[in-house]
């Protein structure tokens, strides 16, 4: 097993003015380079858990170790400067320009101006922000731009550990999806250890290496990779939380290459019409894929054959959509539903024919 980068042991937090613990005896490990997403109902203690990691909140009991050192043995200010933090409501400094906001932690650490400006340029390129925004104030940005600035600011000193509390909370679904894609791209490159909080189970499924589903008091209902949570919800709470469409959601996590694909009817353009008819009959289809020396040319329907002596006289019709081995089953399902033939054809790079996927084959993945 990889090294534990963040480790919580029997951590509890009881706020002075409340009877119930906000976090009750939580133990959890986050390994180096993984993204752990905390999801759970409002008030279940997600933010509190996160704030205990950088000591914005002191635990009532228990131990938190970050990168091998007990956080209580570190100066909280030093600790926080070493951890990237995106707060639930972004919290940009309204009186500072975007450039100055991004440079917050580098300035605290005393970087020189040239280094700060290089790094700032790098970050805005990474987050796809317009350099013209740098001289503006936060109030002059859109919500999505602000959230990206919040993330850029947290990444500024390239900290190995990032805490992100609903970083994409306040934007519309389209911008949100873009930010998530960007997040995945950046994370693939940077390999940070990330604790990410969200309300949105779909966001969790998309971004997480492992999801922790929390109940009141931050009690762990299930802590597992997204695919496992969708396949085998540990209990009713998790099942209700992931929602009714968990079968469909799971399809988005499985690649075509991970399942056994089927063989469909295939002919070479040099085959006879009789061969083609025989092939269709064998599979019970009314069409056949035309494959020349491994290359997928298209398909020919049973009706196209009428009155034609040879297959070479018929131009194969192109498939409206291909699926590759890297596609998700969700994508394959969309292709199937929208195709005339009710089948998705799987092609590999360079239009190499690989096989077919039928609705029955995919529905087996939904029920299992």
């Amino acid at each position: 097993m990889a090294d534990s980068m963040i480790s919580l042991r029997n951590v509890s937090k009881r706020f002075a003015n409340s009877t119930d613990a906000a976090v009750d005896d939580l133990s959890m490990d986050v390994y180096a380079g993984e993204t752990v997403v905390l999801v759970g109902p409002s008030g279940c203690g997600k933010t509190t858990t996160m704030k205990m990691i950088n000591r914005l909140v002191e635990p009532t009991s228990g131990t938190i170790v970050v990168d091998g050192t007990d956080v209580r043995k570190q100066d909280p200010v030093e600790l926080r400067r070493g951890i990237g933090y995106v707060i639930q409501s972004i919290g940009l400094m309204p009186h500072r320009t975007i450039a100055s906001n991004i440079a917050t932690v580098p300035k605290l650490l005393g970087w020189d101006a040239a280094r700060i400006s290089d790094r700032t340029r790098e970050l805005i390129a990474m987050l796809d922000l317009d350099p013209g925004l740098l001289a503006r104030y936060p109030s002059e940005l859109s919500g999505g731009q602000r959230q990206r600035v919040g993330v850029a600011r947290a990444l500024a000193t390239d900290p190995p550990v990032m805490l992100m509390d609903e970083p994409f909370g306040a934007v519309d679904p389209i911008v949100r999806a873009r930010l998530q894609d960007q997040f995945l791209e950046i994370q693939k490159k940077l390999n940070k250890t990330i604790v990410f909080v969200t309300h949105d189970i779909d966001e969790a499924i998309k971004l997480a290496d492992r999801i922790a589903i929390l109940n009141t008091g931050a009690s762990i209902e299930q802590f597992a990779p997204p695919e496992e949570i969708l396949r085998e919800p540990a209990n009713d709470f998790v099942e209700r939380f992931v929602g009714a469409e968990r079968g469909l959601k799971r399809l988005a996590l499985i690649k075509v290459s991970e399942i056994q694909i089927e063989q469909g009817p295939v002919c070479s353009p040099r085959d006879s019409v009789a061969d083609a008819n025989e092939e269709m009959e064998r599979f019970g289809f009314d069409w056949v894929s035309i494959v020349d020396d491994g290359e997928l040319l298209g398909w020919i329907g049973q009706r196209d054959l009428e009155g034609r002596p040879r297959l070479t006289d018929i131009t194969p019709r192109p498939f409206s959509a291909y699926v590759t081995k890297e596609s998700t089953l969700r994508h394959a399902l969309d292709s199937i539903v929208s195709s005339r033939t009710q089948v998705a054809v799987v092609a590999e790079e360079g239009q190499r024919y690989a096989g077919i996927l039928t609705l029955e084959r995919i529905s087996r993945e939904i029920v299992s």
């Binding site: 704030k51 950088n54 914005l56 200010v77 030093e78 600790l79 926080r80 400067r81 070493g82 933090y85 707060i87 409501s89 972004i90 919290g91 940009l92 400094m93 309204p94 009186h95 500072r96 917050t104 932690v105 605290l108 503006r136 104030y137 936060p138 109030s139 002059e140 600011r153």
Partner: protein
């Protein structure tokens, strides 16, 4: 008509006018500067220790309600007819407004900005100087403006203890039923108040570039 306001008298007393204006501004500046020097730390302290806000407001509110004449009557036996007497009174009147605005300014600082700043590793001192005070500044300056204008008005009253700036003309005019001096004093006091009000309003805007839209800001 010429008896109501005699320009020739004003011209004869040009030097006195300038002296009086200078004294008026000096007394005002001193009062507001000392008031600010007391109010900023007090306001910061009170905003951190909320329980003290009630008592502090009660005290400064009490000072604010003492009629100025009565206050000077109390103070004169102790501190005499001096600038000190005048300033004790003038400073007292600024405190209610200034402390209230310092606290309101600090309260108005976005908790998100503070939380983010702490989360990124600001020390308490950095948080105060680099986040809280700059963001509270517009409210503090707004208080400063009210305090300044109020003080300019009150300085005319301190003429009674011989430290009155342009109030001196009013007092002089009243004692001799000489309308020119009364009008001169009143107009000068109002003019000073208006000028400072406008100047401070300007600086208030200059101090908060982040609230202006980008079109207004020089590129």
């Amino acid at each position: 008509m010429s008896d109501l306001f005699r320009w020739d008298w004003v011209l004869d007393h040009r030097d006195d006018v300038w002296l009086a204006l200078g004294e008026h501004m000096w007394l005002t500046f001193l009062a507001v500067a000392i008031g600010l020097a007391i109010s900023v730390p007090t306001g910061i302290f009170v905003s951190r220790h909320r329980k003290l806000y009630g008592p502090v407001t009660a005290l400064t509110g009490f000072l604010y309600t003492i009629p100025s004449l009565a206050l000077f009557a109390f103070l004169t036996p102790v501190t005499g007819l001096s600038t000190t007497t005048a300033e004790i009174g003038l400073v007292s009147y600024t405190l209610l407004i200034l402390i209230r605005n310092v606290v309101a300014g600090l309260d108005g600082v976005s908790p998100d900005a503070k939380e983010a700043a702490r989360g990124m590793g600001y020390t308490d001192r950095q948080l105060l100087w680099k986040v809280e005070l700059p963001l509270a500044l517009p409210t503090i300056v707004a208080g400063l403006r009210i305090a300044t204008v109020t003080t300019i008005g009150l300085v005319t009253v301190t003429a009674l203890i011989g430290k009155g700036g342009v109030g001196y003309f009013i007092l002089f005019g009243l004692s001799r039923s000489f309308s020119t001096a009364i009008i001169l004093g009143a107009v000068l006091a109002v003019a000073l108040a208006v000028v400072f009000d406008v100047l401070l309003l300007r600086s208030e805007r200059l101090l908060v570039p982040w609230t202006r839209s980008s079109e207004e800001r020089p590129a």
